[in-house]
Symmetry: C2
Subunit: 261 residues, 2 copies
């Protein structure tokens, strides 16, 4: 069967980000996504208005059924929403520690105040040794590590157990968008791309999901990282902007279906 | 932008049915899905173990934000889960009555006892005049119409407002699977296919979503119906069966992504 990636993500009803990014990216790359919604959100292409977190126990039930039934080959974690959810998810995966885990450490989309944010950060930090690779943007890397200097942040995250870090530079200034892959603290890849104009909805989810799809299919880490970079660039280059306002929605599926195929 | 279909469906974490069928089918056909989860379910490729319905008011909030932001061209309704949800969804769509509506009248997946089921049936019946086309299987057509004879059922559903009925024959006996399209009660299309072996998870969702994608792109009804039939046949023919047990999972995305494309 197609390589299965089990994903934990929020649901974005505008279809730019979250579990839809997972489903589209993973299926576009030949895999099958099994998706657990960590939250339902009220959002459009412009902003998040409201959200409801899924009860951690209900996510555990879903995860255990899927893991028992499908030949899951990779785990992809996006927005988890709360420290309790993060702890429950990582506990549920305990018997599946042989599987690669891609963690996109989403911190900012979750409100609930600084204390809840701090708890979630602590839960993610504690889980770093269980990850194969994490995909923070520079803002998340600084928040997770608790320091402003990015080189220092990478060193600290490596020290607490993040073996591989695919650090996204989209929030840093400059004409070029620079992503960096660190393995055991060493810079292994530096990818420099012309910055696209506009804001994109779900680019981070798309990148992490494409990376997970690559690992699920058995690709080596570096090849999966490079594929994810190419994939997200293609999806953003072909993005649509609804009614010429708000953020662009990535186009992850490029097939034109042929009724005679 | 890609033609947008707003979908209301349950979330199946095994990825065979529900909103994942919507997202994959619609994107495979060149559209964009905007998805509202009517329920989260605990299920695998074999059965449904548990579910949580989304509060109708929360669905309304999501729908209104998406409708205001995205150029929605079609509405696709799958599992709604309760009479209250069905009524709220149809009320939310009131200002968008010019849009085509595809209703897959899912009754059986929702437990909650006979009374709740009866209420949901009544709510769907009351909404039939608001639909462009409904896609019941023969079991659902009989339940909705309240009679055993299918010809009689079609006549009754037409009478209460279902102008177009794409009646699926997969639950009827015979080597051939026969689907029939009725327009204003007249048989307009009879599609006969060899029956595939095995049970498929999400074939009905896939058909209705593909139909909605066709209508969203401006296809005439008959062409969209025929495309949906071809699309679901292709998806089932290429389905995977996890670990050789349970139901087959349709394969709706056939593109092999090319990093150099």
């Amino acid at each position: 069967m197609r390589p299965v990636t089990l994903c934990f993500s929020g649901l974005d009803p505008s279809g730019g980000a979250g579990l839809q990014a997972d489903i589209e990216s993973i299926s576009a790359l030949g895999g099958h996504a099994a998706v657990i919604a960590t939250a339902l959100t009220v959002q459009d292409s412009q902003r998040v208005y409201d959200f409801q977190l899924t009860a951690p126990e209900f996510m555990r039930e879903q995860a255990l059924r899927v893991l028992a039934d499908l030949p899951v080959a990779c785990i992809k974690l996006g927005m988890l929403g709360s420290a309790a959810a993060a702890r429950t998810v990582f506990e549920s995966l305990h018997a599946f520690r042989h599987l690669p885990v891609v963690l996109d450490p989403v911190l900012s989309a979750n409100s609930g105040g600084n204390l809840a944010q701090q708890d979630l950060r602590d839960a993610l930090l504690a889980a770093l040794p269980l990850t194969t690779i994490i995909t923070p943007n520079s803002v998340e890397a600084r928040l997770l590590a608790g320091c402003d200097d990015l080189t220092e942040a990478v060193a600290r995250l490596t020290e607490v157990g993040a073996e591989n870090i695919w650090l996204k530079g989209g929030h840093e200034p400059g004409d070029q968008l620079i992503n960096r892959l660190y393995c055991k603290g060493e810079l292994m890849l530096r990818s420099s791309l012309p910055r696209l104009e506009g804001e994109f909805h779900g680019s981070g989810c798309t990148l992490a999901a494409a990376l997970a799809a690559g690992l699920a299919s058995g690709m080596p880490l570096l090849a999966a990282v490079e594929q994810s970079q190419h994939f997200v660039t293609a999806a953003l280059t072909k993005a649509d902007r609804p009614r010429n306002q708000g953020q662009w929605l990535p186009r992850r599926i490029h097939s034109v279906w042929n009724a005679n195929s």
